[in-house]
Symmetry: D2
Subunit: 337 residues, 4 copies
Amino acid sequence: MIVVMKSGASQEQIDRVVENIEQLGLRSHVIVGTERTVIAALGEKRDGAKQSLERVPGVDKVVPILAPFKMASTEVKRERTEVASGALRVGGKKVSVIAGPCSVESRAQILEIAHFVKEAGGSGLRGGAFKPRTSPYSFQGLKEKGLELLALAREETGLAVVTEVMAPDQVPLVARYADVLQVGARNMQNYPLLEAVGETDRAVLLKRGPSATIEEFLLAAEYILKTGNTRVMLCERGIRTFEDHTRFTLPLATVPYLHQTTHLPVVVDPSHGTGKADLVAVMARAAVAAEADALMIEIHPNPEKAMSDGFQALRFDAFRELMADCRRVAEAIGREM
Amino acid sequence: MIVVMKSGASQEQIDRVVENIEQLGLRSHVIVGTERTVIAALGEKRDGAKQSLERVPGVDKVVPILAPFKMASTEVKRERTEVASGALRVGGKKVSVIAGPCSVESRAQILEIAHFVKEAGGSGLRGGAFKPRTSPYSFQGLKEKGLELLALAREETGLAVVTEVMAPDQVPLVARYADVLQVGARNMQNYPLLEAVGETDRAVLLKRGPSATIEEFLLAAEYILKTGNTRVMLCERGIRTFEDHTRFTLPLATVPYLHQTTHLPVVVDPSHGTGKADLVAVMARAAVAAEADALMIEIHPNPEKAMSDGFQALRFDAFRELMADCRRVAEAIGREM
Amino acid sequence: MIVVMKSGASQEQIDRVVENIEQLGLRSHVIVGTERTVIAALGEKRDGAKQSLERVPGVDKVVPILAPFKMASTEVKRERTEVASGALRVGGKKVSVIAGPCSVESRAQILEIAHFVKEAGGSGLRGGAFKPRTSPYSFQGLKEKGLELLALAREETGLAVVTEVMAPDQVPLVARYADVLQVGARNMQNYPLLEAVGETDRAVLLKRGPSATIEEFLLAAEYILKTGNTRVMLCERGIRTFEDHTRFTLPLATVPYLHQTTHLPVVVDPSHGTGKADLVAVMARAAVAAEADALMIEIHPNPEKAMSDGFQALRFDAFRELMADCRRVAEAIGREM
Amino acid sequence: MIVVMKSGASQEQIDRVVENIEQLGLRSHVIVGTERTVIAALGEKRDGAKQSLERVPGVDKVVPILAPFKMASTEVKRERTEVASGALRVGGKKVSVIAGPCSVESRAQILEIAHFVKEAGGSGLRGGAFKPRTSPYSFQGLKEKGLELLALAREETGLAVVTEVMAPDQVPLVARYADVLQVGARNMQNYPLLEAVGETDRAVLLKRGPSATIEEFLLAAEYILKTGNTRVMLCERGIRTFEDHTRFTLPLATVPYLHQTTHLPVVVDPSHGTGKADLVAVMARAAVAAEADALMIEIHPNPEKAMSDGFQALRFDAFRELMADCRRVAEAIGREM
């Protein structure tokens, strides 16, 4: 850490900072500048030291030097992590595709979609059984029945099942059926849930919260890693900004930035990231060009009749076209799909 | 709902919208304008109808007419709700103050603070026993031991205990000790948790998520109300914006806007809302002037030594001054404190 | 427009809205719903009518039906506009590249860069002569001397010169040297400047302001179009959000959305859009995949010694690689480069 | 500045940073930490040094120590600046009020309003003659005729005239009529305009841009101060965020933060800051409690008929009540009004 004193800070204040640094078990190093004094604290730990130094009188600000996450960092592990679960492999040369409906609605619906995803070249099947809905008056999902239908679809198609879990006490149930446990954007900082999925042997797809910084996102992943589960995929699904022509703003620079910062693979969800069916395909292509390791796409045979989020689901023909377009872009940048 | 067709939409497309509206059990009413056609759907329900209409070809947008929340709305209940729990009453003429440390750290700490809060005129004691921390390497709270200490502090001072609950399965435990269950900002859309606190007989303090719209905030409250618990307080604690000189941006216009929109009482937390101890007192005053029903303030006898969030905690003397200033402002606008 | 009344609005209030609508020269159409009344105003004009109706007692909100821009809209002109200026053509099958330094620094610098851009396949040369700088203590550009050097570079290479103009009274001078007048992000709503460039016969590159909605962006373009200059290119260069790992957030969904909404061509500037040299190339590729009509890239032979914005400028070798990568992506989506 | 090297940076990279620092005329000081090396650059200047160091290989980030503004800073001048112009004094014990219509519409309108403002206790008259309007199809102001009417209103009432200037070449004209030159939010970073008002002897009211950081805001003020005009008032008028229930988000913590950071007086505009007439009065009170030095309020005798922004203008009776309420709050915090 670097402690920057206010201009005109007294020697007594500087001494107090030094004393505090030493009580924290760190070494201090005072540098007197022309207008201000700064004090380096060496041997930094990743904890509340910054905050306590910020309250010492005369301190202007405290600048951390180390990233606060460890296990997720490329500083600790340089080789990219590949997460494999059933038919799904994310993080290697191949760009994988997870597709499916927003919600599992019926046996016929999920089987029709699963067969189509398989045939179109996808390797994961998404579909909500427990649905977090903004309004208590909206359809909340088929719950365990939905999980059974997803498992049935896996049996018939071989696709890996990716589905959301909303509470720690649902984890054992969902883990019984799913290949990949999805932690939704609203739950990115639901720490008991992060620890609960961290205790399973299932792969985890962690969605970025709509107002989470990258640091917070990686610290959420760190909760899962620290609990013992290293099979974590990060999913960019759009952030909340002032823009109102899309449902969220999809910041694709997250993808290359995460690749520099973490070894974990990065998934992009252009369906939530735009919230508009007619923008999904173009943004899927752009995500592939930005080096996404996988795409997550909402599709529905009849979006007008979907029980949730029909406005952002692609019809089958549009999805087939998306796959062909993305495959060409993947090849153009030296990947497969 | 009002369905706005694209300019140049065909008669066939218009007919299909009308048909969809009628299948939803609503009446339709077509209005042909000079450049576009709009179709009113009468008898609106609060559910996914909007989304399904959005996917009909030729539709440009669908504008809802009704607010999606019901029980929280002043359309349903016009008189202001007053929430009382132990010594704490929020929503009447008096502006109440809930104060205390970020985390319960020890018996001596919480008792010293509680006695001070009581003497300074507060009626609620805040203090985290289960702490949601961004980093897994930060102090996570004393857990049940912390709850016991809070209950002890209540016994000695009569203050109502306000403390956070982080997961549905913690609710029975926390409810055994607390007067008010706090749902933190990170959990505003943790629906299983909202339902779990909705099933208790404890008052609930629901914090606004840092990127939640007011509509989402009220829909989160609606989850609690709908489950059967009507003793809900809403707490504005700052939103995430591009501003970097404060930890969050504290948008006080939320307060009068909520008073127009909902009958639930509104609490303001200027400690999290600014994240800087030296801005808290002024923003507390401004919150009172903006008609907050209560304030929630972090204090600590020695912020440099606090185990969490010391940078935003007020020292005792600063808090005493804050109380005096806020009292004068409260009286100036015809309230008490 | 659709005027939505509050629930419980009186007949008198409804009558007053109707009267106001008719005074505006529009026809009114009252629809009585189960919970609320809405009133359609037909024959809408693009002006302040919405705002005046919003103040009539009993009105909850007024929803416009028409987009407020006209000449920029695909409703008015469906064929894509191609803007050509010197060697630069933007909006056709070819993805064009405008590259160059942040600031023109010297004769040697701009000529070296221009020859390199030409050789690498670019068709426009960017370079600031008048520099808008956040701090008055930063380098402000070579001014007219810089313009002369840009013109010299054009002479030697044939590249089209793209350079910023900051004030209406600079327009004649800059137009004497430049092929394309750039209106910077800070000036997107500098209306006298928009009108001044609208009066020239030069192509205009209009940058999106960092907090401008798409509607405001297109209305700014509308100022230029309405003044009589139809050769306008729109440039997405990043918006301001809470993200702090990049300088701005680059929302590529702007590109396909603009293609749906306007016939004007769309340029993407990943240099400002990320503010980090090591993210530029990947985001350039993604922009091409998102159907950008042109890229605008900052390059510098020695970024450490650049007089401005060196942190986001690419070195020559990195730019050459970017061009090759983008060309492959362009071909993958059926375009050229 | 503090230069933080990446973990694993080579000695050669460290040497190159040291060399660069010395070429900039600064002294360097290398501190080898347990995981990383940091290098302090002493004798810091306020210019592009940070940016050039950021591009040296092996550098992770560069942290500035000094604020980039100087003349606006409390580090340079500790006593608060009071700006006086005609009847208006801003920055002393008294909280001043500037009120008036969005646009000057007619002689009768502006005189009626001016007399009312005077009688209600205001000391400044606002009113747009040159109007920056988002749409080219909206009313653009009466221009010079409007300025004449404002001067007439001053003659009759003694109020100071506050009006916007939009371009450098309008400055001499507007300065002939106005007491205070307003630089609008859209022009906060219009540097030629800032310099042009900096060259006059008129007081300046500088509005914060809707996405400007405080640092950018103060650097904009610095342009005016550096040009030679020290009579600058800063005006908070709301920032752009994801919130959609108000036109902008009004972040009142700006007020106490600016008072810590700069000696310039701070004005708050709750009319633009909320964009809703029924929130203005409460937020005006909150602004006074937050220590605003002045308020700027839009009023209109008949908002339904206003030619611009009627939705946020207060009627006369509401304004009279606002004045009474704010006066009580001002007195409660030891100020006058």
